[in-house]
Each structure stands twice: as C-alpha cells, then as structure tokens.
C-alpha cells in the first residue's frame, strides 16, 4: 500500500515504490484538481493504484471460538489484516492455528502448507473437518496462488511456513489485496523470523507440558499467547491456553 502527499500545489509524489514505477513518471503535474491526478494514475497503472481510505473500513473481528483468546484480541482475528502467529518449535502455535481453523464458521478454508508438513491426523484430532479445508502445496508459486485466492475473497487462509528455511514477506500489493478481500490471513513464520507488513503479531510461548497424572504421558501443553501488535489491544496483553492434543 502506498500513500500520496501533495508537496506543492503542482506536484504529487508517491512515497513508496512497490510497483516498480519509474521515478520520473511519478512527478505529475497537477493541471486543475486532485481528481485529474488520480484519474491519470488509474489510467496508467490500473484502478487499484489509488484508492480512498474509506474503502479500507475495518471489518468486525472474526471470532476464533476460543473464548479467552477472543477476549484478549477484542473479538477475534482481524479480517483484511495479516496476522502473524510467532513462536518456537513445540510452542503450540500450529495446534492453535488448527483449532482456530476448526472452529471458523466458514464452509471452506485454505491451508497453505508451504513445507508439505501438514499432518492430517493431528489436524483431525484438533477438530479440523477435512471436507471443509483445501490444502495447498504452493511450491514456487506461493505468491501467485495467494494472490489468486485473495482475488476470490476466500474468507480464511492459513499460511504455514513453520518449517520453512526463510519466511516469505508478502509484497505490499498482496497486503492491499488482502485488505480489499477482507480475508483472515494467519501466517506461521519459521522460528525466530518475523515477516514484514504484519498488521497483528501474536507470540505463542509454551509454559509447560500437560501430562496424564497416572501414565505421565503428554496430553497437551499450556501455552501463553502474548499480543505484540493488534489494533485496539495493549502491547503485552496475554492469555494462557491449555492446548490438548486430542480435542475431539
């Protein structure tokens, strides 16, 4: 997303160059009104290039159906915003993402499994209805497929890169598309990597394993979800969740 400022009466400058514009082309003479400039920009680069801020009205949060988490997040995950679920290995974030996916009210959701590590059995244990999700193995075409899905206005997408070498930073154009589509996009980056342009950041930390009192087998983990960034939520607000392995 970019924004424009009118520096003088006669010039308009675009601050961010995500579209590969030539700088010479960006200095446009304003003939009469700002509408003319907008019209010219839209003619040159397409109607999406300049949009009103009112087109980006924030939608109501999408409840996760985990009451404590919804309370923490002020209603749920924000549609049209990239939400990053950070955390280390065995922190429980994949389980948490699958729980959210399992309880999402949509009939169809997308799970982009960037590393082909999606475990159908554990997903089923977490309550995911396999008939309601489409698993995407994007390969090299992640951004292209994601763009295609956003253009379809798919309501819920999980981008799981938890085992990838490097996190994918979504280009600004996809973030704009996401805002327009109103999709809930949940990205799970690899450990200790942070993607750019996230609108909301949550950190999942494992506090302890939950064991069966008799057999001492691990039955789940107690994790803390900390808000690093989310609209309307204080930095550092947190909640502790018990993520059991078998939620059926």
């Amino acid at each position: 997303m970019f924004y424009c400022t009118i520096e003088q009466t006669y010039y308009i400058e675009i601050k961010e160059f995500e579209y590969g514009f030539d700088k010479a082309n960006l200095i446009l003479k304003v003939s009469t009104t700002i509408q003319d400039v907008i019209a010219e920009l839209q003619t040159r680069y397409g109607p999406q290039v300049v949009q009103r801020l009112s087109d980006f009205v924030p939608s109501a949060p999408q409840p996760t159906s985990i009451p404590d988490l919804d309370t923490l997040l002020g209603g749920g995950l924000l549609p049209g915003v990239l939400t990053v679920l950070q955390g280390g290995v065995t922190s429980g974030r994949v389980t948490l993402a699958q729980r959210i996916l399992a309880h999402s009210p949509q009939t169809i959701s997308i799970y982009i499994d960037a590393c082909s590590t999606f475990d159908l059995e554990s997903a089923t244990r977490n309550g995911v209805n396999l008939t309601r999700i489409v698993i995407v193995h994007p390969g090299e075409q992640l951004l292209e497929i994601l763009s295609g899905l956003l253009s379809l206005r798919v309501p819920f997408v999980v981008l799981d890169e938890s085992d990838a070498k490097q996190v994918t930073t979504l280009p600004a154009v996809l973030i704009t598309q996401l805002a327009q589509a109103g999709t809930v996009l949940l990205q799970l980056p690899p450990d200790r990597q942070t993607p750019l342009r996230a609108g909301a950041r949550l950190m999942v930390e494992k506090l302890e394993w939950i064991r069966c009192p008799q057999s001492r087998d691990i039955r789940g983990c107690r994790s803390r979800v900390i808000v690093f960034e989310q609209r309307g939520v204080a930095f550092g607000a947190h909640v502790t969740l018990d993520l059991m392995l078998d939620d059926r």
Binding site: T124, V134, G139, P155
Partner: protein, 394 residues
Amino acid sequence: MKACVLICDFMAAVERRAFPELSGTPLVFLHFKGKQERVFAASRDTEGVEAGMRVGEAQAICPEAVLLAASLTRCASAVRELVETLSIYTHQIEVDENFRGDLRLYLDLGKLKATDGIQLGQRILMSCGTLRLSASVGIAAGKFTAYVAAYHHERLFLVRPGEEPLFLAPKPVDLLPLSRAMRHDLWQYGIERLGQFAALRKGTVLAQFGPEGKRLHQWASGRDSRLIQPYNLAPLERVTQSFEDPLASRSLLDFCLAGMIRTLAQRLERRAAMTEQITLLLQLDRGPLVEKVLQLRKPLSREEEIRRVISRCVEQLQVDGGIIHLELLLELIVPEVPRQLSLFEYAEQQERRIEDDIKQLARRYEHQHFFQGIPGDVQHPQPEQRFRLEPLEP
C-alpha cells in the same frame, strides 16, 4: 356523537377469557419490580388489593385470590382484536390503554342521530360479545359524558344532546381525573357530585384550580370538545390453524408449523418487511394455553430462519397433551433494511461460488497444488494409511 366502550377489569377479563375456569375467582396479577414480585393489577373482587403491594400483603387481604403473572402481551393482543373488530363502525378509535384497571375505547360516530345511536350501540355490544369480552357502551356528544354513561349503566346508555348537564349532575365527582390535591380541596369544600362542581363559577374554578380545573369544570358541565385520537394498529401478521382431532405427534406439528411459516414468510416478502418478535400460541385439548414470545436479536424475514427459531422454541416447550389450536404471530414488523453482505456471513450461493472458484483456480494449476484430505483406514497401524491427500476434484 362519540361512543365509549368500557371493559371493566380488563386484564382479569382477558385472563378469564383464556382460562374460563377462573371466572368468579378474584385474580391478582404480579410482576417483578426490581428483585421483588409486586402486584401489578387486581380484579375488583379482591377488595382492597392495590397495585404496588407485596405478594404477602395481597394474600393477607384476599387469601382466596389466584396469583397470576401479568401478561401484557395477551392484553395488547386483546386490544388489537377489539380495535380490529370495532373498526367496521369507524376508523376513528381511541384506546385508553390502561391494563391495570378498566379499558376505555372511544369511537367517533360522526353526526349520528340519537335514534340510530341505540341500534349502533347494540351492534357494538354484540361485536364485543363475539370476542367473549363483557363491555358496556355509553353514547354522548362528548367523551367524558360517554364514559360516565358507560360506567354507570350495565349495557348501553345514550345521552341525548343537550341532556348532558342533567345526566352528569348526580354522578360522583371522582369520575373526573382529579389530582390528589384537587380531590382533597373538593372534599374540603363539600363538593361530591359533578353537578355541584359544574355549578361553581368559571372564574372561581380558574382562580382556585388553574387551567386544569377549568377543563374539568367544562367536562362536568357536559362540554367536552376533545377529539378522538386514532389508535394506530401496529402491523402484525397472524396465521391460525384449528384441529378437530388434537395433534399429538411432533412430526405433524412440524408439518403444520412449516406451512404456517411459509405463509407468513410470503406475507413478509410481499410487504418487504422483517419481524422482531414471534409469538407461538398452542391451545391444548386439556385446557391450558401455552404461549411463547420470542424476542429476536435481529429481525428475520426468511422462511428457513423463522423455521429454525420456531423449531428451537417448540423443542423447549413442554407440551403435555394434544394441540387443538395453533397460532403464530409476527409482531414488531419493521421494513426490510438492505443489509451489506458481511464477508463472513456467506449465503449458500456465495459458499457454492467460492467452492467453484477454488476448483477453477485448482484447474488452472492443473491440480498440482490443491489437495483435499481424505480419511482412509483410521485404525490402520501405519500412519500414512490413515489419511491421504488427493487432488481437489474438478
């Protein structure tokens, strides 16, 4: 001319109409005020029980009284029935909606001749009789005189124009809506009859009681020029169904309800309206009337939505016996507001559209990237046999 239709103890009359076994029994109606139950209204035969009393007090005064929950919905629906029935005589009907005591309806009869008044009054009485509500009717030139005529006579009384002062003179002054202070003052002056009050000089009344007193003085003198304030019937949709053989099975009940809901939904669609309140009434063969009022969180208009709500409601009802009469009411009807489709409230068509679009996208990538999880042999010892991924079907 104006007619006053008076129904004494309206709440009790409505309750006795619904439950005939209560006739002749003193009735006390309760409602919750704060956390305590208080008397909302009481029938006249309770003698001394007043609104606002505690339940214990009411029981001490009238031990034989039957305590009931005040059903304002039922009263409102009875008022509606009355207005609908009486609207064949005039559309100018005013309702004095006081459910605690007597209900007064004023009808504007236009320039009716006194000779025709009696005939019309009898018809009005008959109409009230069809609703199984006992009423008295007073006809006079003014509203107050018509009310006094209805109040002081059993069935029907007509006060001819010009005879008002003579008619009103012997009636008690308490019939006027007096304030406590004014009532006290009149009592101190020894004024007990309307005639005595009417005999006071206008200037004296104005000086002593102000403009309000002057207005009441005019009424007591038979000069009441108030106009009828027409009662606006709130839009309502109703479907009823009666059965000769009591309905005893749930499937039959569901079938009947489905038909009724379809009719109501079609009517709503024709009106381009939605409902915010649904009332379900079931008359059982063993007597009791089961009533359930559902206040909806958001207005509904679609057949499936209404059916879902009613089906849930029926599941919660304890129906003990066969049903002989079914009634569905849609109240609080509001215009249908075009609703912005939320991105997360997908209608079936939208859901199908997304599914189709995803399949189309998958086809574009030749099904190399889009998969669906298929459960295999879930008990198989080898994990890879329990579930498998298959390309998304075109």
